[in-house]
């Protein structure tokens, strides 16, 4: 079980959008280079605490932030 989850996005604008929304909500977020094993779609991804996954999904949905998916897949 990893401590982190990674939000994959299509564009770096989306990465910043996601970062902004989650930061404003007080979550711990970090932009990271997208792990190549996960995607080649966009250079940046958003790392969150694994425990914040559901909350992040809710916040991003509310703010209409476009994302590809969150890794690892929800168990």
């Amino acid at each position: 079980m990893s401590d982190f989850a990674v939000i994959l996005v299509h564009t770096t604008s989306d990465a910043i959008h996601a970062e902004r929304v989650l930061k404003r909500a007080g979550l711990a977020v970090k932009l990271i280079p997208t792990p190549r094993r996960l995607s080649s779609d966009c250079g940046s991804a958003v790392r969150i605490d694994a425990g914040d996954r559901a909350e992040s999904e809710r916040l991003l949905g509310e703010a209409n932030v476009s994302i590809d998916r969150i890794e690892p897949p929800a168990s």
């Binding site: 299509h10 564009t11 770096t12 604008s13 989306d14 990465a15 910043i16 959008h17 970062e19 902004r20 932009l31 990271i32 280079p33 997208t34 080649s40 779609d41 966009c42 250079g43 940046s44 991804a45 209409n64 476009s66």
Partner: protein
């Protein structure tokens, strides 16, 4: 306005580009150059991320000023002209018909004249000699082949505001998208894409938004399907790098190539400044100056002021002529003898001048901005008075 070299001058050419810029613009550009430097969207390191944050700041602030709810629907390009070309060339295939107005700038008319060579037909809705018009005169020109209505929000020659919301409402009724050229109005007038029935809005960053030149772009309404608008320029975006076709994602679809992030750093700061000051408050202040300028110029014998002569129906752009004096002489003497910067001639808008009846001589244009003072307006009125004597 006193420059840093101590020279004092009156800058009334804000319709060409606003000057001075708020101090925060200088600071943001310097900060980007000194501390960031990287290209957004191209790498994942911290400086690239910081550059992308700056670009996002600009997107968010501009979206806020234009009533765009999703900042990804603000696309940055080199200027408003590029955005207008994108839309006109993308939405008007051979055989298509477009309706525009008698107050347009060449930014709209020249691409349309070029498209006519490819079989696009163009109808121009007439305007009155003060630049005003009503939406039905556009509706009367709509045909089954009409694919777009393109209208300037306010004239860059005389400031007259067109009834964009009403034009948009009838465009919606007919299922035709509306492109608005907001070059003279973004940051100067309240704009809300949804409420104003605007599908596509071309803006520039360096006029009412108070940012640097080389910034501008397209704001895209929520209901507009970007699938129907192909990009004008294709290339690297930093996204979908494994694909050799342009991604269909906003904003990347229309932002190929390294962006003017230096300019966007300035625009992010300036647009936030405008948001903080409030468009409505800035507009009221400029309206007071414009009203006084119109009134003062009209009292001078031999001076003719163009447009509605009503500051509440226009932007802070005032055009005039003096009987018997070429406009180039007036502008030159205002510069040389009175330290007043203005713009004479046709203002890249021969069609608007034809509507106003000021072809071929043109007009002298005085355009106040947020840093223009009452005493500068009085000095300009006095100077024009002296030239007219």
């Amino acid at each position: 306005m006193r420059r840093r070299d101590g020279l004092s001058m009156i800058y009334l050419d804000n319709a060409a580009t606003s000057w001075p810029k708020p101090a925060c613009v200088n600071e943001a550009i310097t900060r980007y150059l000194s501390d960031v430097g990287a290209s957004p969207g191209r790498s994942g390191h911290r400086l690239a991320n910081e550059a992308e944050r700056i670009r996002f700041d600009a997107r968010e602030a501009v979206a806020g000023l234009l009533g765009v709810r999703d900042p990804m629907r603000v696309v940055f390009m080199s200027n408003a002209t590029a955005a207008i070309n994108l839309v006109l060339r993308g939405l008007l295939p051979p055989g298509a018909h477009v309706v525009t107005t008698g107050m347009e700038h060449n930014a709209v008319l020249r691409p349309l004249r070029a498209l006519e060579q490819d079989g696009v037909s163009v109808s121009i809705a007439p305007c009155r000699t003060d630049g005003t018009m009503e939406a039905p005169s556009i509706e009367a020109l709509i045909r089954p082949q009409t694919r777009l209505i393109a209208a300037i929000h306010a004239s860059n020659v005389c400031g007259t505001i067109l009834p964009i919301r009403e034009i948009g409402a009838l465009a919606r009724e007919h299922g035709i998208p509306l492109l608005v050229d907001a070059t003279q109005t973004a940051g100067c007038l309240p704009i809300d894409l949804a409420a104003d029935n605007i599908d596509l809005l071309a803006f520039t960053g360096h006029k009412g938004l108070l940012g640097p030149t080389g910034t501008g772009g397209l704001a895209i309404g929520d209901d507009f399907d970007v699938g129907q608008l192909p990009p004008l320029i294709c290339g690297g975006t930093g996204s979908r790098s494994e694909e050799e076709v342009q991604p269909d994602l906003l904003p990347d679809k229309y932002e190929a190539g390294t962006p003017n992030i230096l300019g966007l750093a300035g625009l992010a700061a300036s647009a936030r400044h405008v948001l903080a000051c409030g468009v409505e408050d800035m507009m009221q202040r400029e309206r007071a100056l414009t009203g006084r300028l119109i009134e003062g110029l009209r009292e001078i014998v031999g001076v003719r002021v163009l447009g509605t002569l009503d500051a509440s129906r226009q932007t802070a752009v005032v055009s005039f002529t003096i009987d018997g004096l070429p406009v180039s002489d007036i502008a030159h003497r205002l510069d040389e003898e009175f330290d007043i910067m203005c713009r004479p001639g046709l203002h890249c808008a021969p069609r608007a001048h034809r509507t106003l009846g000021t072809l071929p001589g043109g007009t002298v244009r005085l355009a106040a901005g947020p840093f223009t003072t009452e005493s500068e307006i009085e000095a300009a009125i006095e100077a024009v008075g002296a030239l007219a004597r």
